[in-house]
């Protein structure tokens, strides 16, 4: 089966247009919009064929034909001039759509050119063009249109130009920012480096990337132009000879349809406008979703219920340590579910134990399930994540069996977490002290304001932030200070366990060292138990008591730090250590592990490391190794270990 699909894949013709259509056709909103739009365009084109009456003559029309209700002869009734409303509707579609499309064309061309020129050339040109755009954006456009059309001749052409010449502001702004974004992309810089002229770059590199956005914007501009035309016509500024939908409404409203109770004359043209504008809105909205799929991680989506997989209580991890056990994680498994696809097995049967005062290092390449495992301990998995087996004891209570209210109580009070990027982990519009105090208020009995302030100051002092900075906002802090503030926040409720999820990424080396030192000091000072998630084996060797090495969602090796460094059994651990500089032997060549970690949706049948493993043999490809106990609190999942 697997071979077959692999062969089939390349034979499917793949063009950008076809791909686009595939995604597009799956977006119901866009599809409905397109169908509605095509339908009304057909009505407009074949108006002469579709219209049951000739509305250009007034022959045979008598006073008795005025405002006749819908009947067999006039399906949608007649209007103030005794003409057939349905026929007028078809011809009105022609005029409304024509004005909409032509006016929008003018707007989009002007806005597009201005946006590209401003974004591409920058400097003073950009400044002037964008200032001009800003001014035009502030001046209310409908009153301006009204004034101009009122002062000129109300002809269809005038209306098209006035709407077109005033409707480009949004286009110009959007195109400019897109051009700016595209301009600094690698291939544009490269094209420039090999001497391509501005014209060439704009035409072949910028335009294709700005185009999709321009199309979406154009659709919006068309709908606005149609609304504006109908409004101008309704206000009595339309071309009296061109009976657009707006003009129909103007005549009906101004000539007694209301008092005659002729609802059909008021309803039908309006529904036409709504139909077109709605179709364009749906199409535009849908297209935008297709072109710019926002993969939101919605943090307030309720998590998936915990599944109880088959589980046999195996207390295999037994440490001689006397210190009390704080966390006891037993064969925890986590899947990510995505639509109908098979679940991604992000974490599979991982076990570990954390004692009071212990610092455990959690090591592995990106995407091996480290962060997923940590988030699961707080039941903070994204909506797609689900715990599908195992238990996680915090002291004596099982985290996986807790209700939402119970887990909210555990969070921060028992287990707190320091996230990767302190940049975004703090709320930008609340002061640092406020955010720290919030955690204390949540989990402590009510205390007077003064005591709370003292506690916050004490925490900030602990991490080396001066008191005068406490009421600052996060953006006023440096990267290192933000991470310190995050650590202070994590300590706010005297948690039993602190999870530090790569706390030093995105910081420069000096600051990294300071933060690590701080964590190490705090640990000794406060007797903290910490899980330290990192790529950095050097830090692990220096600070940690025990190490859990993960690979592709499973435990590769787990043991105390000396065992792992001196007698690693798993080839992955061995390779990782080789990839790390050895201070005692500086001449040694560093070796990186060839290949990439496995995709979680497409895991190998056997050992997950087998494809990259230098010691792999036949059994490794066909059979997944179990986690073997090697004595002395040392575990590894490798067939070689069993053999020895």
């Amino acid at each position: 089966m697997a071979v077959q699909t692999a062969e089939l894949k390349p034979s499917v013709p793949s063009s950008p247009l076809l791909d686009f259509w595939k995604v597009f056709s799956r977006n119901r909103m866009a599809l409905v919009g397109l169908v509605m739009l095509v339908a009304i365009i057909i009505c407009a084109i074949f108006a002469s064929q579709l219209a049951p009456y000739d509305v250009s003559t007034s022959e045979n029309i008598t006073i008795h034909d005025v405002y006749n209700p819908p009947s067999a002869t006039h399906w949608l009734g007649t209007d103030d001039a005794g003409k057939d409303v349905l026929s007028n509707f078809f011809f009105g579609a022609r005029i409304s759509l024509t004005v909409g499309f032509f006016a929008a064309f003018i707007s989009v061309v002007i806005g597009g050119v201005m946006g590209i020129v401003a974004g591409f050339y920058g400097g003073r040109v950009e400044n002037i063009l964008m200032r001009f755009t800003d001014v035009m954006l502030v001046i209310p456009d409908l009153p301006l249109m009204v004034v101009i059309v009122a002062l000129t001749k109300p002809s269809l052409l005038n209306i098209i130009f006035v709407i077109g010449l005033l409707g480009w502001t949004t286009t110009s702004r959007i195109v400019r920012s897109q051009t700016l974004a595209v301009k600094s992309r690698k291939f544009v810089l490269r094209a420039r480096a090999i001497g391509a002229g501005n014209n060439h770059i704009i035409r072949h590199h910028i335009l294709p990337l700005v185009m999709p956005l321009l199309v979406v914007n154009a659709i919006l501009v068309i709908s606005l132009a149609i609304l504006n035309e109908s409004t101008l016509s309704f206000l009595g500024l339309g071309d009296p000879t061109a009976l657009s939908w707006g003009q129909m409404l103007n005549f009906a409203f101004g000539r007694g349809a209301m008092s005659a109770g002729a609802w059909w004359a008021l309803l039908v043209p309006g529904l036409g406008i709504v139909w077109v504008v709605l179709s364009l809105t749906l199409l535009g909205h849908g297209l935008e979703q297709v072109l710019n799929p926002r993969l939101e991680t919605h943090h307030l989506k309720p998590g998936k219920p915990v599944l109880k997989g088959e589980f046999t209580e195996q207390r295999r991890i037994i440490k001689k340590d006397e210190a009390p056990v704080l966390l006891d994680i037993q064969e925890l498994s986590i899947n990510y579910l995505s639509g109908g696809n098979p679940p991604a097995r992000a974490v599979e049967k991982v076990s570990f134990r954390l004692h009071k005062g212990e610092l455990m290092g959690l090591v592995g390449e990106s995407g091996c399930g480290k962060t997923t495992l940590m988030l699961a301990l707080l039941r903070l998995l994204p909506a797609a994540g689900q715990i599908v087996g195992g238990k996680a004891y915090c002291l004596t209570s099982d985290i996986t069996a807790m209700s939402e209210a119970e887990i909210a109580d555990i969070r921060w009070k028992d287990i707190s977490i320091i996230f990767q990027g302190a940049m975004n982990a703090l709320n930008p519009v609340r002061t640092v002290s406020d955010q720290i105090a919030e955690a204390i208020i949540k989990h402590s009995p009510p205390m007077p304001r003064q005591e709370l302030d003292n506690r916050v100051e004490e925490l900030l002092d602990l991490v080396g932030i001066a008191v005068q900075h406490k009421d600052h906002y996060p953006h006023q802090y440096s990267g290192g200070m933000r991470q310190r503030a995050m650590i202070a926040m994590a300590l706010a409720c005297d948690p039993k366990v602190v999870i530090a999820d790569e706390p030093t990424t995105a910081l420069d080396v000096m600051i990294q060292a300071q933060i690590l030192e701080l964590l190490d000091n705090l640990r000794h000072k406060l007797g903290l138990s910490i899980i330290f998630v990192t790529h950095d084996l050097g830090v692990v060797a220096e600070m940690c008591d025990s190490v859990l090495v993960m690979y592709g969602g499973v435990t590769a090796e787990y043991g105390d730090v000396d065992t792992i460094y001196n007698s690693a059994c798993h080839p992955y651990t061995q390779e990782l250590l080789k990839a790390f500089p050895d201070l005692s032997n500086p001449e040694k060549r560093l070796a990186s592990i060839p290949g990439y970690p496995p995709h979680l949706e497409d895991l190998p049948v056997g050992c997950r490391f087998a494809p990259r493993c230098p010691k792999a043999f036949a059994r490794c490809v066909s059979e997944q190794p179990a986690l073997h106990f090697l004595g002395n609190d040392h575990f590894a999942s490798c067939h070689l270990v069993e053999a020895s």
Binding site: V135, T152, L249, G270, I273, E296, A408, F419, K442
Partner: protein, 342 residues
């Protein structure tokens, strides 16, 4: 940038924009065929003395501005004229004195007419805008919180539909419906109620306001809902929401203390940018419901070719929108601590 510099920059920018509107207004009404001053001069009903008075008031015998005799840009004139003695500066000076000409139709100063009507528009836009924002924000929060559920899709479709409704047409339909259900068919008050007790007068005004405000609310609610929804969705995927959740805060606390305020910030800017559109809505609604506001003034002025009123109303609307924009900008800088130190 310090806070003061930011303020000064924003205010200077608004003053500049108002100047541009002044120039635009001047050019429009002098170049295009409907020049109020000259149209007045051509009006056969006027006596010779009246025409002379108009010529002096608008300075029609003076050059347009330095170096230009008329608005024909190819036809140069003398540059040595006293700049304060040109048509443009006479126009600006008249404006500064609140003098915007005399309505052709009502034979009253335009300034007086507009002053009465401005408050009616503010009343209508104010109540409609407040309702639209409150409802839009609440529905937007609900939709974002319950993203990808039936609630979300219903709210989304409803908003897109509301957005697609032509304002004036919705007004017509509601008016048609209301007039069959005993609601007043337009205006601000029933004639002859001015002698009634104040409370009853207010009740009467309230009845008249009901449908215009409803129209306004429906049309603008959808847009605020869409913006609030997408803004809140962005915020809810931020890391600091995960931090808040990790702290053990409840969903309600997270929404209240961390998400909604942050998501409302972009809304302030959007409300400001929308003020122009808002005025467009008021124009249509006032036209349909014969509401005696600025929009209604424009509608009537267009019908009667009453250019002084049209010119004055446009100027007043544009300047109000610019000032409201400035206020929104300054509010934003107060709400978002990041602005002050950009």
């Amino acid at each position: 940038m310090s806070r003061q510099k930011y303020l000064v920059k924003k205010i200077a920018w608004s003053v500049f924009t108002i100047l541009i509107v002044l120039v635009l207004n001047f050019i429009l009404f002098r170049v295009l065929p409907g020049d109020p001053a000259r149209a007045g001069v051509r009006d056969p009903r006027l006596k010779q003395e009246a025409i002379e008075a108009i010529r002096i008031r608008f300075g029609l015998d003076k050059p347009v501005i330095n170096c230009f005799e008329s608005l024909n840009p190819i036809k140069f004139g003398s540059c040595t004229v006293n700049p304060l003695d040109t048509q443009f500066f006479i126009y600006v000076r008249n404006l500064l004195h609140g003098e915007m000409g005399i309505s052709f139709h009502l034979q009253r100063p335009v300034g007086d007419i507009l002053a009465e009507r401005l408050w009616n528009t503010v009343l209508l836009i104010g109540s409609g805008q407040i309702l639209a924002i409150i409802l839009g924000v609440i529905i937007g929060i609900l939709a974002a919180w319950k993203a990808r559920t039936a609630i979300d899709y219903t709210a989304l479709l409803g908003s897109l539909l509301a957005w697609s409704l032509p304002t004036f047409w919705l007004g017509i339909i509601l008016l048609f419906w209301g007039s069959n259900h005993g609601l007043p068919i337009g205006g601000k008050a029933t004639p002859g109620t001015s002698s009634l007790p104040v409370l009853q007068q207010w009740g009467d005004i309230f009845q008249h306001m009901l449908l215009p405000t409803l129209t306004y609310t429906i049309v603008y609610m959808g847009e605020y809902m869409l913006i609030m929804r997408s803004s809140l969705l962005d915020v809810l995927s931020e890391d600091y929401i995960l931090t808040a959740k990790a702290k053990g805060l409840s969903t309600f606390q997270i929404l209240k203390d961390h998400a909604i305020k942050n998501a409302m910030l972009p809304l302030v800017t959007v409300i400001a940018i929308n003020l122009g559109f808002t005025v467009a809505g008021a124009l249509q609604i006032e036209a349909v419901f014969s509401w005696p506001g600025l929009g209604g003034a424009i509608y009537e002025a267009v019908k009667r070719r009453d250019f002084p009123v049209l010119q004055g109303a446009f100027l007043l609307i544009a300047v109000s929108v610019i000032i409201a924009n400035l206020i929104a900008d300054l509010t934003y800088s107060y709400l978002d601590p990041r602005v002050q130190s950009d």
